[in-house]
Amino acid sequence: MTKEGIITQSRDDVRLEKYRFAMLCSGNAMILFALWAIVRTIIQLYYQADTVIEGVPVATLIVPVMASGAVDAVLKFIVGFSARAEGLGKRKNNIYIVLGIILVAMSIISLIIWISVISVFYKYDGLFGIIVSMAVEITVLYAELTLVISAIKVRKIEKEMGLEKPEERGER
């Protein structure tokens, strides 16, 4: 390789670095949100086990709440660690992008459902609780969208640049 080949960056190289860095950051965010999903599920079950919401005892919802929490956390872990690894230039796969799109869809659906029953949450959590929950849900959605869009853009730019092999992409 020539010196220029190593030290010169094209416009596409710069864009590639930008989106890879975005993948690293959003991947880290996904891992943190996965941990938060676990903590949140445990807290909900621990503190609200005796609560009755709209005539439905929370205790009867333990299995579905745990199952949805576990699925959410596992998906976020897979997507987060995969995006992080790719952002660091370690390895690459495409499955996690599909999972990322599923996460985005799940977040949008849960946000819509959540807004539709906002009056119920207001009754139990108050305005502060609603603002905090809303902020978290929107941040999660933003991180998921950033991750998926960045991963797609990285692939598009690599294809345009003809970086087909792992060593050409600079994978470590």
Partner: protein
């Protein structure tokens, strides 16, 4: 830069600039001393603490992360090791705080380098040595700032060593660690611990890039936080050679051989007969080039260059009577250091940047200038 360049290479540059052996020793001693003149050292000889030109790790750990503490750090590191390149740089993005940090980035050939060299005109050899330290560091420490900052000084995993062998260029990832011992062969180097705290001392200067800027053989590229995802390529052998030639030019000017000191002028002509030997030392893969520079310096002058020890200054200063302390090597160094710190702090303050604190023009009263009274009194004596 470290002892090998600040002490031995500065000796060689001074000799090539026309100074005598004894003068060269005084210059190179003071060119190295900014890396040793800590408050702890100054307290030990009962010298003014405000003349400190560096801080030990313990001193840094002891600093309160308040604006006043950070201004103290900035005054020291920006004045002597990371001279700001352009205090009025046009920064397109970010708020005032970001712009102020960006404008502290060190690069060679800025206006402040000119001011630094001019400050040593007609002053002691210690002032000449100190200015050569500042000048040389602008080359080694370029692209880093002498103030704690994540947004300027942090680095990430995109850090590569660039290697050249027989015209073939390659790159390999650099791995940073926090355990003792540099591993040149396997590209494993020590750096400071990652911290996202904007004001953490872990993000001071080139701490996050380890000692890589200090090794003359090192060529590397990395992705700084401030450069919009564009790599910075750093060619230390080339930069160090420029620093060496600029030092020769600057010291010739300080000897009165030229009318003015201009930036981006390098005395390559004087260095030319020794270019191969100098570049050989600069390119040799070693973390300490003292032996090679010493041998080169002794070959140049035909005289022995004693090893550097802080005891030289300490002993002379401690043994001098009170009224003669300012005439000792350390006394002259202290005056030069205070002048440099005062000048740089004033320039930063006047640019509307408070990172180095307030700086007022002297109004003839002693109030508010306790730290720099030594500098004022020495000026009055000269008058």
């Amino acid at each position: 830069m470290q002892l090998d360049f600040h002490y031995y290479a500065t000796y060689c540059a001074a000799y090539l600039a026309g100074f005598r052996h004894e003068e060269c020793l005084e210059i190179c001693y003071s060119a190295q001393f900014p890396d040793n003149c800590t408050r702890t050292f100054l307290a030990g000889v009962k010298a003014p603490a405000s003349a400190a030109t560096t801080q030990t790790n313990m001193e840094l750990a002891d600093v309160d992360p308040t604006p006043v503490g950070l201004q103290d750090i900035t005054r020291i590191w920006a004045s002597f090791h990371f001279l700001p390149f352009d205090l009025y740089a046009d920064v397109k993005k970010g708020g005032k705080r970001y712009k102020n940090k960006y404008r502290m980035i060190c690069k060679p050939n800025g206006e402040l380098v000119k001011d630094t060299v001019n400050l040593a005109v007609g002053k002691s050899l210690q002032a000449v040595g100190l200015s050569m330290h500042v000048l040389a560091d602008t080359w080694a420490h370029r692209y880093f700032a002498g103030t704690p900052s994540v947004v300027i000084n942090s680095t990430n995993h995109c850090f590569y060593e660039v290697l050249e062998k027989d015209g073939e260029w390659t790159q390999r990832p650099i791995e940073f660690k926090h355990t003792p011992g540099e591993d040149i062969e396997n590209a494993k180097y020590i750096n400071t611990v990652d911290s996202n705290d904007e004001n953490s001392i872990m993000n001071l200067g080139h701490g996050r890039a380890g000692h890589l800027p200090d090794y003359s053989f090192m060529r590397y590229k990395y992705l700084p936080a401030w450069n919009d995802y564009q790599y910075i390529y750093k060619d230390n052998p080339e930069d160090y050679y420029h620093a060496f030639c600029q030092m020769i030019y600057a010291m010739k000017y300080l000897r009165g051989e030229s009318e003015s000191f201009e930036t981006e002028v390098y005395d390559t002509q004087t260095a030319a007969p020794h270019e191969e030997e100098i570049k050989g030392i600069l390119n040799k893969r070693q973390t300490d080039a003292c032996a090679d520079w010493k041998a080169f310096g002794e070959k140049l002058s035909g005289c022995e260059i004693p090893d550097f020890t802080v005891e030289t200054f300490r002993k002379e200063y401690a043994e001098s009577p009170e009224d003669e302390k300012d005439d000792t090597g350390l006394g002259k160094f202290i005056i030069a250091a205070l002048a440099q710190k005062s000048m740089v702090t004033n320039r930063i303050y006047k640019s509307g940047n408070l990172l180095a604190g307030y700086s007022v023009e002297y109004d003839g009263k002693k109030s508010g200038i306790k730290d720099f009274f030594k500098l004022l009194s020495s000026g009055k004596e000269r008058e």
